[in-house]
């Protein structure tokens, strides 16, 4: 399986993602934002970080960069595109997934482990994951998911919510919402579910000695689903 990780000026989780993808069997290539062409890929990842210094709105500049035209075409033709953290912010700015990510409700940068409940398994990202709840890491200032009422209705009707913030038992409540996100949304799909944007970083949970291994579950499963 071939993957590509896009590096924008200010990306800082691109190499972590590279390590994670390779660890679970992907042949990964790093792709510079100013390149026009995407290498042949089964999966494209927009990594976390602070592309373009978060100027204007997080992800807004990166969403207009040269490589993104190819990424958008790839996604529109059914290619798997996953945006993590800043990558999620870039995805919403391209319009590939609906909504926006606002400043965290309590105006603080949040850096901690959280639990997320998988809402939908009828997709290549979460199909066959045994667990209902995963422990991931979040680190962001703008992760407060918001969309219009019409968009929310569409998202819910199409079952586009991927994961919700919850407690360790999978209870989705306000008190387990770290950033004020609408309906505790931590990640969403496009309508066709080939594009996934999420705030948590699975690539930070691939080693027991560092933090945990729920990211390992995610990546192992992902590569199997793509085969």
């Amino acid at each position: 399986m071939k993957s590509s990780v896009i590096t924008f000026p200010g990306s800082n989780c691109d190499r972590d993602m590279d390590v994670a993808l390779k660890k679970f069997g992907f042949k990964n290539k790093m792709v510079w934002h100013a390149d026009a062409e995407l290498p042949k890929s089964d999966l494209v990842v927009l990594p976390g970080g602070f592309s373009y210094g978060d100027y204007l709105r997080c992800g807004s500049m990166a969403s207009k960069s040269k490589i993104m035209r190819s990424v958008i075409n790839f996604a529109n033709s059914g290619g798997m595109v996953m945006g993590i953290c800043n990558g999620f912010q870039i995805l919403v700015e391209t319009g590939l997934v609906p909504g926006v990510l606002l400043r965290n409700k309590f105006l603080e940068f949040i850096c901690k482990n959280v639990f997320v409940k998988i809402n939908d398994k009828k997709n290549k990202y979460f199909k066959n994951v045994d667990n209902e709840v995963l422990e991931f890491h979040i680190a962001h200032n703008e992760g407060n998911y918001f969309c219009t009422n019409d968009q929310l209705k569409e998202i819910e009707d199409n079952n586009q919510i991927a994961i919700n913030y919850c407690d360790e038992n999978g209870k989705i409540e306000d008190q387990f919402n770290p950033n004020g996100s609408l309906k505790n949304i931590a990640g969403i799909f496009n309508k066709e579910k080939n594009v996934l944007g999420m705030m948590p970083h699975p690539e930070r949970m691939i080693d027991r000695s560092l933090s945990g291994e729920d990211g390992s579950l995610f990546f192992k499963n992902l590569i199997n689903n793509l085969k």
């Binding site: 807004s60 700015e93 909504g99 926006v100 606002l102 400043r103 409700k105 105006l107 407060n144 918001f146």
Partner: protein
């Protein structure tokens, strides 16, 4: 020609920064404020000399980059 644009958050969108500014102003003694909403201001100096054409171009910029229409409104100030 210089054209200015003001971007504001839509009415229903939470503005935590505006809220904190409001609270701080309150604490400073400015106690008759109903609400504070924070926005952005741009000055775009364009080579275009035709008023209407310049405004149309800036409107396109607003829609494509300067504003996110899910949460923000834009207002183009007439060039002087």
């Amino acid at each position: 020609m210089k054209i200015s644009v003001i971007i504001t958050l839509k009415k229903d969108v939470l503005d935590p920064q505006g809220k904190v500014i409001h609270q701080t102003l309150d604490g400073m003694g400015f106690q008759d404020i109903n609400e504070v909403r924070q926005g952005k201001y741009f000055e775009i100096d364009t080579k275009e000399t035709d008023n209407d054409k310049a405004k149309a171009k800036v409107e396109e910029m607003c829609k494509k980059l300067l504003a996110n229409l899910v949460i923000e409104n834009y207002k183009i100030i007439d060039p002087k």
